[in-house]
């Protein structure tokens, strides 16, 4: 449920970008707006099923023609492929485990970005299954790696990511790959399970030995710009801006510090005053008693 909601959320920027590109349809730099998180959460079966490239929504003739030219350009060499390799421990080293394919987009500035990433997992061989079982038993790490540059895999730099093998199995093997890109360079890959991975990791052997892969491509966010109030300051200084008046306080809020001592003094005065009449009353009460010597003892 949560994953679905998330995928919907991920779709949102996509739709939004399309919507925005509609607004700016006369500009040909809508490619930039595509730079947002693009992903294709595909449930990949063991045989790669070629999917038709998602057709862009038909919004305007201008838009379509722009896309068409782009598609024409793309048909030559605008796909990039790179392999995911994994290490199942036991000194086997890294072996190919799947492949990514994506479309390359070049922006007006000449920089290239990846989009429409698709991931195909190879089926695990029997040996690999056994190795994976061993990893599960030992509670050790399952490590994957990707080339650091998508276009130039000969550079021999790899980006690694690992997770405790016990985090992956559910019914099948669920994995979640977040690839952080900068142009055609892969900065980092975050490999993990789809859900959480609670700490005492129980040993669990999956019933199905197929991978359920979710991949996300991420690029950097833009920092919000520092607010600038220079104009407003000038406005207020020149007297154009209204001076904010402090809200009127209630009578009690304004004068409580005077009222309370006053109240205390009044209270004191009242109690004192109450005592004096009592005394006087007592004095008056006693006066006749003195006159009458056989009066009853005064009660107090």
């Amino acid at each position: 449920m949560a994953a679905r909601r998330r995928s919907l959320l991920m779709l949102l920027p996509l739709l939004l970008s399309h919507f925005l590109s509609l607004a700016a349809a006369f500009q040909s730099d809508e490619l930039l707006l595509h730079d947002d998180d693009e992903f294709e959460g595909t449930r990949v079966s063991s045989t790669p099923s070629p999917r038709p490239p998602s057709t862009p929504p038909v919004v305007s003739s201008r838009r379509r023609s722009a896309d068409a030219t782009q598609a024409a350009g793309a048909s030559e060499s605008n796909t990039a492929q790179f392999t995911l390799e994994h290490d199942l421990g036991a000194g086997l080293g890294f072996a190919p485990a799947g492949s990514f394919s994506a479309r390359l987009k070049s922006s007006a500035h000449g920089s290239q970005t990846l989009t429409k990433l698709r991931f195909t997992r190879n089926e695990l061989t029997e040996d690999e299954k056994n190795a994976f079982k061993k990893l599960l038993e030992e509670d050790s790490f399952y490590t994957i790696r990707l080339p650091s540059n998508v276009l130039d895999p000969t550079r021999n730099d790899y980006i690694y990511s690992s997770i405790k093998a016990r985090c992956i199995p559910r019914d099948s093997l669920d994995e979640h790959i977040v690839i952080h890109m900068d142009g055609v360079n892969i900065l980092a890959v975050n490999y993990g399970s789809v859900g959480g991975c609670q700490y005492p990791r129980p040993m669990k052997v999956p019933s199905k030995w197929t991978f359920n892969s979710y991949t996300i491509l991420k690029t950097a966010d833009q920092a919000p710009r520092t607010p600038s109030f220079v104009e407003q300051l000038i406005e207020t200084e020149s007297g154009l801006g209204e001076v904010m008046k402090p809200p009127e306080k209630s009578f009690w809020a304004k004068y409580w510090m005077y009222i309370i001592p006053l109240g205390l003094i009044v209270m004191n005065a009242v109690t004192a005053a109450a005592n004096i009449p009592e005394e006087q009353a007592g004095g008056q009460g006693q006066a006749p008693a003195q006159r009458a010597p056989i009066a009853a003892p005064r009660r107090r």
Binding site: I159, K164, L187, C197, P224, Q286
Partner: protein, 989 residues
Amino acid sequence: MAPPPRRLLLVLLGFLAAASLATLAAAVYEDQVGLADWHQKYIGKVKQAVYHTQKSGRRRVVVLTEENVIASLDLRSGDIFWRHVIEKNNPIDQLSLSAGKYVVTLSSGGSILRAWNLPDGQMIWETNIQTSTSSKSLLHVLSNSKVVKDNLVLVLAGQWIYAVSSIDGVISWGKEFTLDGLEIKQVVQSPENDIVYVVGIAGSSKLAVYQLNAKTGEIVKDAQESLPDGLCGEILLGSSNVLVALDETRSALFIVEFKGESISYNKVQISEFVQDFSGTVKLLPLMSNGIIALQSSSTVSLLKLKGMDGLEVIHSFDQPASVSDALTITEKYEAFAVVQHVGSQIEFIVKVTSDLTNEIIREKVDIDQHRGSVHKVFLNNYVRTDKSHGFRALVVMEDHSILLIQQGAVVWSREDGLASIVDVMASELPVEKDGVSVADVEHNLFEWLKGHVLKLKGTLMLASVDELAAIQALRVRSSEKNKMTRDHNGFRKLLIVLTKAGKVVALHTGDGRIIWSNLLPSLRASKSGEMPSALRIYQWQVPHHRVMRENPSILVVGRSGASSVAPGVLCVLDSYSGEELNSRSFDHSVAQIIPLTLKDSSEQRLHLIVDSNSNAHLYPRSLDALNSFISEMSNQYFYSVDIQKNAIRGYSLQKSCDFNSDDTYCFSTKLLWSIIFPSDAERISVSEARKMNEVVHTQAKIIADQDVMYKYLSKNLIFVATVSPNAAGEIGSAAPEEASLVAYLIDAVSGRILHRVTHHGAQGPVHAVVSENWVVYHYFNLRAHRFEIAVIEIYDQSRADNKDVLKLILGKHNLSAPMTSYSRPEVMVKSQSYFFTHSVKAMAVTQTAKGITSKQLLIGTIGDQVLALDKRFLDPRRSLNPTQQEKEEGIIPLTDSLPIIPQSYVTHTLQVEALRGIVSIPAKLESTTLVFTYGVDLFYTRLAPSRTYDSLTDEFSYALLLITIVALVAALFVTWIWSEKKELRDKWR
């Protein structure tokens, strides 16, 4: 029924108490300066010293130090008259006096010449000089004012020679020598006429000698000669026409004679005349009357030139010894000094160049054992009361301290090693024991008795002036803030600092005095000339319940050489006395030191030292430590930031080393994750992590609408900022379009990037501080042409549902679930950036004992001051018009820039020159934190970010309170008697 006056008095008391508490203030008042803070001025290791001339009548010395400071010191007390700390990117190479009233300095590879007024240090003029290369430059002041009126100063750099008037800094002539690759090595002025000899080397073996007219710069004569073997570049002028040069192998000397335009030379092997010659050789600049000094690794030899034939050893001193420059006293009378070690003393010898067998002075001087060997000597003479010549010398020691020696005693000393602090930590003082005198810790019984006798003398008015001063010193030492014991508030501590020279010094926080110091033997320069480097200092053992009687100890880690692959060394010191308890050298290098949270049975803290081959070594090496480590090993991770390769890597540990499987204390590592930044777009500028010992009081934050936000509190959070390579240089070197800064928040265990944000048009230098769940970083915004400070706060969304009280009561929450980095965190990030006026040198955050007190950022500004800025100003939730609830919560309306309130300067009027670091140490009192700032200067103070809400201030009038209470009690009593009497009277009526 209570009598009315009682109630009134109670009200009065309440008012009184409120009034006394309301007088607390945030800033320091003028008369409070120096009560809790101290400031110490230093200059660093002296590399050149020039004395005022005898005629000027001022007993001062002008020094140039390795910390790029020029200072004028009082020769009588060692106090600083004036001082200039020049920026590191403008290094001063040479210092000289001119015309008896200017200090001339040459800096930045011979391109800037400055003159400073001698008495007050004001700059008189500055001249920029065009030089070809950044080679070693020379400064020579023409002394003979008879010939040249203008007091010319010669500047030599590469192929260029300039003559600059020392009166106004005007270049009077400049000349470039045409010989390719010429580098000028030596310049000598002829005493008779205005001819200047200039000696240079072209390539590796070609020697060139020029004679110039000092007035006009014309070449009168020149001569060149190729020597058969290469030269190493060290050349000395033995006498007016004989040169001595060291060859490439540093095992032979060339004696070169030039007569007119012809040059003849002779090669002499050093081993022929120096016995037990070994190691590398250096020529020491002591040349006159044909005497040269030769320094090899075991001896310092004085040699006399015997014409062209060779040299003769006259004296040789065992290392460590040091020879001063020759000092001209009269026309024919030149003296120099040699200082050598004799047992625990140093011997100060003054000789005359004309007669080497004779000694004018031979004195033995007692010095402190923790100063190491003599590095440099600067000789000065004075006229004694009996009109004879007296000598004194400034001696620079191995620990960078300087001493003035005169009449067989150390007149004063300066601990200038403290100008180059590498690392700081705080240590507790001993607990005050009942029955045992404090004196037990500080000094022995005899001194204690002496102190009491002194005090007695003082009270009986028998004490002399010196004794009065001693009594005063005793009083200061035993006053409350300077005691050598732990106090209730935790204000008294030891600041243990590690200096570049490998000396560990403990300073008292009360007044900054040195409690103990120890120049670590394993970090001292070896005979082979390897310069060890001190790295870090850690807490090694804090005695707790089981080993309560032992003293706490500290760990110092260093390298035995300058390179990063040099084997490491480790020392354990007692933190009360500074004694070395244990030291060992590793067979592996030190790349990273990871203090673990584990302890062994003797309360020693476990440390993991990672070498350059990514193997981890466990210390201390005890079975006990090993067992406790292995049980926790699967949960130990570490990361490394590789700035060269532009990558961050995370590792876990595995049993057994790769290369040495027998070593059970060695662990191999497994690479778990890596982040590689594309080197054409990003370069790592800074990486920061949370302080290991930081305490967080609450994991939730209640915001205005009674909602709860959970902080994402992970000890493994690291912040990394990268800048585009174009923008890595100085501000202004890149256009806003090509500059950008990317900030990352990374989980160090899984390598997950939690947040990544790009600031376009921003560039470094970046300074960052990470605390609790936030990061604050400082950078330059090229578009706005201003500095900015940005803040990122990170909140945990996975706990956001825990708001229902009923659920919390029934236990249906995940607040106590263990956190694991392998779960995908759901985080929410809030960020904001603000303009800031200053450029920043260092940043830190205040730390308190329980983390309740609000935080302040401590910003070391470009003006070498420390500004305390409330974290509230850097709240990403600030908005233009905060609602009433938000205002109550303490949210400040949004402004575009951060306010700088003059009262919030922690350093008030003082400056911590060349500020490099700020350390905040929590005191026991929650409201207060101790702040120590270091650079060339040291500054310490106490800070209370939310004011001292948990204690009364020093000004609190206890007398008034007491009087009030007494008066109240008396009043109560009186009124009670009155009422009783009245009642009795009433009853009798």
